[in-house]
């Protein structure tokens, strides 16, 4: 690893972000060109052209990734993207109230998610469908949130995947507390130790809760990996509106390592996250990872990115597609042929069709669910409200039957 100084020392000439109220078109383009795929400091193991780059620091973290494992990562990303596109389409058809697309962030999510061990806990924001998939949460279980039939009721302990959090940055503090608990219980210190990873975006880094999460994790040495997916845009606000420095460099201010990884490189995301988790498992956490990536679609299906960003930008990032580079690498290395790619695509199509069928047939929750689980202990007041309302509804049924 580079020294801590290199982790976080600003490059000469790296100036403050735009001072104007709104970034100009030129500033956006300049920012894009300057950062490109994350600048010189980004950790990359597989180029956009599909070439494997040797890394003295990180190769050992993916020494087990043989051709079969690499095909597995490719398959993960293809399935996740296909399901994401299906859900996006279903929203457009009115079957989902809203969808939060992850297009373009498959490598960041699958790479980091596959780095986790069963004993680890992940705290997502609301776009981490790919991480959910790697934690064994059925993609169908996510759909209820967006079809608005529930708020997300998967078994978080069985999957090591906390419920989604919609308020920006809240989950970072919750994850810090959880990781403190792992430490207090003595679950860190060796290869079998536990760690927590928390996901948030570049916009969230402006939230007080994220700052406080950094402080808490640092002063209690919590085994927590902060995984920031910098997808360049917080709805319509660019990263320049959040920070004067590359986000990973903030870690130095809190006293722990920060590292920027190519968020479109699944191998780099896997390797760097494994390294960070290992640091945490051994009691050397926390660590901040900035996955430098790009949101290829809207923030949500209610958003219109053409109002605030340039098509040039999108075109540049298309060349860095996280799936294509693995595909090229597999093909060039002879690890997969066209028949295999076709087979994966067919599997993805079936995955999506299954998702669609499930979505269309999803039952609406019964009205009593309004009142269920507000409290862990019985609530006579709510029970009475529920009974009265159900009785009221029953009156309508009787009238209809007459």
């Amino acid at each position: 690893m580079p020294s801590p100084e290199q982790w976080t020392h600003p490059e000469p000439g790296e100036g403050p972000a735009a001072q104007a109220a709104q970034p100009s078109r030129e500033q956006v383009i300049a920012g894009l060109r300057n950062t490109d795929a994350g600048g010189a400091e980004v950790t990359q193991l597989l180029t956009p052209e599909g070439e494997r780059i040797a890394s003295p620091q990180f190769d050992r973290y993916i020494s087990d990734v043989d051709p079969e494992a690499l095909r597995g990562l490719y398959r993960d990303m293809v399935l996740v993207r296909r399901a994401d596109r299906e859900a996006n389409a279903m929203q457009r058809q009115g079957q989902l109230g809203i969808w939060v697309p992850l297009l373009g962030q498959e490598a960041a999510q699958v790479g980091s998610g596959r780095a986790l061990k069963p004993q680890d806990m992940a705290f997502p924001s609301y776009r981490e469908h790919g991480v959910a998939y790697t934690r064994g949460v059925d993609f169908k279980e996510l759909l209820g949130i967006f079809r608005c039939t529930d708020h997300g009721g998967w078994d978080f302990q069985a999957h090591g995947f906390h419920p989604y959090t919609i308020v920006i940055g809240n989950q970072v503090l919750n994850a810090a507390g959880y990781a403190m608990g792992q430490k207090f219980e003595g679950k860190v210190g060796d290869d079998d130790g536990e760690a927590t990873i928390v996901y948030f975006g570049d916009g969230a880094t402006s939230q007080g809760d994220v700052h406080e999460g950094f402080v808490w994790a640092a002063v209690y040495d919590a085994p927590l990996v902060f995984f920031c997916q910098n997808n360049q845009w917080a709805i319509s606000e660019p990263t320049e509106r959040q920070s004067r420095l590359p986000l990973y460099q903030r870690a130095r201010g809190y006293g722990f390592p920060g590292i920027r990884v190519d968020g479109n490189d699944v191998l780099a995301c896997l390797a760097v996250t494994r390294w960070a988790l290992e640091e945490c498992r051994h009691g050397n956490g926390p660590v901040l990872i900035e996955a430098f990536t790009y949101r290829m679609d809207a923030h949500t299906t209610t958003d219109d990115p053409t109002r605030y960003r340039l098509s040039d930008e999108l075109e540049v990032w298309k060349h860095k597609d996280p799936i294509e580079r693995v595909r090229v690498h597999l093909a060039r290395s002879g690890f997969a042929d066209q028949a295999w790619f076709d087979q994966i695509q067919a599997e993805a199509d079936a995955f999506a069709a299954d998702l669609r069928e499930f979505c269309f047939n999803m039952p609406e929750p019964p009205p009593e669910r309004v009142f269920a689980n507000v409290y862990a202990e019985p609530s006579p007041v709510l029970d009475a409200q529920r009974d009265e309302y159900l009785s009221y509804l029953a009156g309508f049924v009787e009238a209809g039957e007459r």
């Binding site: 705290f123 529930d150 708020h151 997300g152 009721g153 998967w154 078994d155 978080f156 302990q157 906390h162 419920p163 959090t165 308020v167 809240n170 970072v172 503090l173 919750n174 994850a175 810090a176 507390g177 959880y178 990781a179 403190m180 608990g181 792992q182 207090f184 219980e185 007080g208 809760d209 406080e212 999460g213 402080v215 808490w216 002063v219 209690y220 269920a372 689980n373 507000v374 409290y375 862990a376 202990e377 609530s379 006579p380 007041v381």
Partner: protein
């Protein structure tokens, strides 16, 4: 739900002893920590200092820095990490130094603490207690004397309680910690070290369940209902009224959410009159809710409208003026006079 009843360890908690509310809370916390090693205390200055009111005095010395955490200075951090610790299986007891500082933590309380159980269809429990010294009368500067409890009572998923005497302080804190739901525990700071309230506390048997109101003085002419610091004001008012031949019933609400109004309805049906007392501003407050529910349930029993003696709808004033803001014995009696004269 009854709190865990445990035998005092080596005389740490004698079966009966005279305690102030502050000392009772301290011993209650100690008993809860002894009963369950998942109970941890966190907040600003709760460790070596024992809290600015010394409620956590000596706990860090006896339970260590991993169970009594002197935290960084940030309320969202205290609540937010407590949520995560609770998800992990701990039972965190947060101390907010003064009620006026709780608002940076309001987001975590309302967005996460109150809703996680509902959101996950009961799969995530967050048994967090947030201790909040509240109310005025201590001659403090701004933000140190407020009564924001109704803001929390309005949030589904939270439970809100307040104690007014040493026995309740000792037991209610343990019962709140034992509760699987998040509890906002409002402590009447001006009564913490009030020697007049010092009384015998039976540390072997809880006086009753946590979420239940209680008649603390019986009377026949008019009912007073209050919670926290205002209970003493009402009891003093009832004492003074008795000297003039008027009989006032006093009910200590104890639980603010869920409101236990059954004893209030029962009392109003006998006395025909109700005065609700609290330091909080009156608009959209607990006393508003009491007035609404009592007129709904006891309409034919009421001889007068439900009246209220409360703080005014102003920010808490500079404390040289707080005697005008806080409903005192005279203002309570004046309100009773209005009810009686209807």
């Amino acid at each position: 739900m009854a709190a865990p009843v445990k035998s005092p360890v080596d005389g740490a908690v004698p079966a009966m002893q005279k305690l102030t509310i502050g000392k009772a809370l301290n011993l209650g916390l100690r008993a809860a920590m002894e009963a369950d090693d998942k109970v941890i205390v966190l907040g600003e200055d709760v460790g070596k200092l024992g809290g600015v009111f010394r409620i956590t005095d000596g706990l860090q010395k006896d339970f260590g820095e991993q169970r009594v955490l002197d935290t960084p200075l940030a309320e969202s951090g205290i609540i937010g990490t407590a949520v995560g610790l609770a998800v992990r299986g701990f039972r965190p007891v947060c101390e907010i130094q003064f009620e006026g500082f709780i608002f940076p933590g309001f987001d975590q309380i309302s967005s996460q603490l109150a809703k996680l159980h509902y959101r996950t269809q009961g799969k995530v429990k967050v048994p967090v207690v947030v201790r909040v010294p509240f109310g005025g009368g201590i001659g403090a500067v701004e933000h140190h004397s407020e009564s924001p409890e109704s803001l929390f009572a309005h949030i589904p998923g939270l439970k809100v309680v307040s104690c007014s005497n040493p026995a309740d302080a000792y037991w209610m804190i343990q019962q709140a910690i034992d509760c699987d739901d998040p509890v906002l525990f409002f402590e009447p700071k001006r009564l913490y070290h009030n020697g007049q309230l010092k009384s015998e506390v039976d540390t072997t048997t809880p006086p009753g369940p946590l979420f239940a109101s209680r008649v603390v003085r019986q009377g026949t002419d008019c009912t007073l209902v209050a919670y926290g610091p205002s209970v003493k004001v009402c009891l003093d008012a009832a004492e003074a009224a008795a000297e003039e031949g008027r009989s006032l019933e006093v009910i200590d609400l104890r639980t603010i959410s869920p409101l236990d109004l059954a004893p209030v309805f029962e009392s109003v049906r006998r006395t025909g009159r109700l005065v609700a007392v609290s330091e909080a501003s009156s608009e959209s407050s607990i006393t508003s809710e009491i007035a609404a529910r009592v007129q709904q349930e006891c309409f034919y029993s009421l001889e007068a409208p439900v009246l209220r003696a409360t703080g005014f709808d102003t920010p808490y004033p500079p404390s040289k003026l707080e005697e005008h803001f806080l409903p005192d014995l005279d203002r309570v009696l004046h309100t009773v006079d209005r009810a009686m004269g209807w």
